[in-house]
């Protein structure tokens, strides 16, 4: 075996609707744990698949998040991490110490305590969406009418978007993530309108500061007003579709395992089980490094495949079983290292409230189509559902 080169696999790694978790991820983890993948743009990248190696890669200072480095594995022209020159303030693409300035300015907004204070507002948002579902009849698309609006409304409240503008905000963010039902041009227009709106909001908060994230962030002086729109767009985009996909897939899983409905431990387990941010942690080696016994050269791209790591039998007992009672808590659904998801505590609260209120208020909730016919979504980066037809 040692004489053969690394295994080479095709992109995209998964097909929507195929068996979950993808059985071939298990093969990837075998042999050496590293496989090579050719991205659509011709880039050759290393996929890191074992839990231990994913954690090592995401904490290694010789491995960078900055797309300015040659070899950075952006998936395509539009999917990946923009450079600072393109969107100043998009700090997920910066390394320490530049990254730390943004992270330190933002963490007070996302502490466990701060997020706890947001609970009543999140609960209100969730309940308003459920009111809408119930008022509209006895069937709905839970993606369009619940999973997408909840995180969008929560983040707009957090940012300090005035209530009157939240519908505008929500409709544009929805267009932005609807890869099936909106055209490139519609998405481009939506993103321009959002950016213009955000810039205006920042200008307003500069003049008339309020009790909200944008005003407080401006007050720290740590972030240049020129970088503010990039920071805010990142918060918006990083937290919208990820959360929506996780809520939608989580509801499907709970309907298949109703014995767990009402148990708060499902939050952590749906995060691990679905690992929706499959191809999000993109990196590049800036020095030669050894990963899982394999030499990776400076300038080679690396992807930490969190869905594979979260189903690694070396790290989780019976990883393919949905088991909210499991004791292992070290999943990497939010990544690891200094870029570990900033919004994770907010997501936990949102998901806990969303699952709980949904099944409390609509106890007869069931799928309107057989589970095999659900329109699964996989754009090469995130996994989710295009729609979730339900009735009650």
């Amino acid at each position: 075996m040692t004489s053969t080169g690394p295994r080479v696999v095709d992109f995209p790694l998964r097909r929507p609707g195929e068996a979950f978790p993808p059985p071939h991820y298990q093969d990837y983890r075998g042999e050496r744990g590293l496989v090579v993948c050719h991205l659509p743009n011709g880039n050759r990248v290393w996929l890191v698949t074992r839990h231990e190696d994913v954690r090592a890669v995401l904490t290694d200072r010789r491995i960078s998040s900055n797309p300015d480095h040659p070899g950075f594995p952006n998936i395509s022209q539009t999917m990946g991490v923009p450079r600072q020159e393109q969107i100043p303030g998009w700090f997920v693409g910066l390394d320490s110490p530049e990254h730390d300035r943004f992270r330190k300015a933002l963490i007070p907004e996302f502490t466990v305590r701060r997020v706890r204070e947001l609970r009543p507002a999140v609960e209100q948002t969730v309940d308003r969406c459920i009111d809408g579902l119930l008022a509209a009849g006895t069937e709905a698309d839970l993606v369009a009418d619940f999973a997408l609006p909840v995180p969008s409304l929560v983040i707009s409240a957090l940012l300090g978007v005035p209530p009157a503008d939240r519908d505008f905000f929500e409709s544009r963010t929805r267009t932005l993530v609807a890869i099936r039902s909106s055209t490139d041009q519609q998405r481009d227009t939506a993103s321009r309108e959002l950016l213009r709106y955000i810039n205006r909001l920042v200008a307003i908060k500069q003049k008339w500061p309020g009790d909200d994230l944008i005003s407080r962030l401006l007050a720290t002086g740590a972030i240049d007003p020129r970088e503010m729109s990039g920071v805010l767009m990142l918060l918006l985009i990083a937290g919208h579709e990820t959360t929506a996909n996780n809520i939608a897939l989580g509801v499907v899983t709970l309907l298949a395992h109703p014995e767990w409905i009402g148990d708060p431990r499902v939050v952590e387990e749906t995060l691990r089980f679905h690992s929706v941010a499959d191809l999000v942690s993109l990196r590049v080696a800036v020095e030669d490094v050894e990963i899982a016994g394999q030499q990776v050269r400076a300038g080679e791209g690396i992807v930490a495949l969190v869905a594979a790591a979260n189903h690694d039998e070396r790290a989780f007992a019976c990883p393919h079983a949905f088991d909210p009672a499991r004791t292992e808590r070290h999943h990497v659904a939010f990544g690891y290292g200094v870029h570990q998801c900033l919004g994770q505590n907010l997501v936990r609260v949102e998901m806990e409230i969303a699952y709980r209120r949904l099944f409390e208020r609509i106890p007869g909730l069931r799928l309107a189509v057989p589970a095999e016919e659900l329109p699964y979504k996989y754009d090469g980066v995130l996994c989710g559902l295009h729609a979730l037809p339900v009735r009650w």
Partner: protein, 64 residues
């Protein structure tokens, strides 16, 4: 058992507060602080869990 935290490394992910709330807190800047070192003895497992889950290895447990 003694616990030290490296506030310079902390990235404010809050894993410590979620998993060992009796021991750890986040200050106003979101940075970790040990708010009750004595509570660690009562639940060493929670403290060990917080230390392994911390994404930036900011928590060290000394078994002296």
């Amino acid at each position: 058992m003694r616990i030290t935290v490296d506030t310079g490394r902390c990235v404010g992910a809050g894993q410590c507060v979620l998993n060992a709330p009796a021991v750890f807190d986040q200050d106003h800047d979101g940075v970790v602080e040990v708010h009750d070192p004595a509570a660690a003895a009562a639940d060493p497992e929670a403290v060990a869990l917080a230390a392994t889950l911390c994404p930036s290895a900011a928590i060290t447990v000394h078994r002296d």
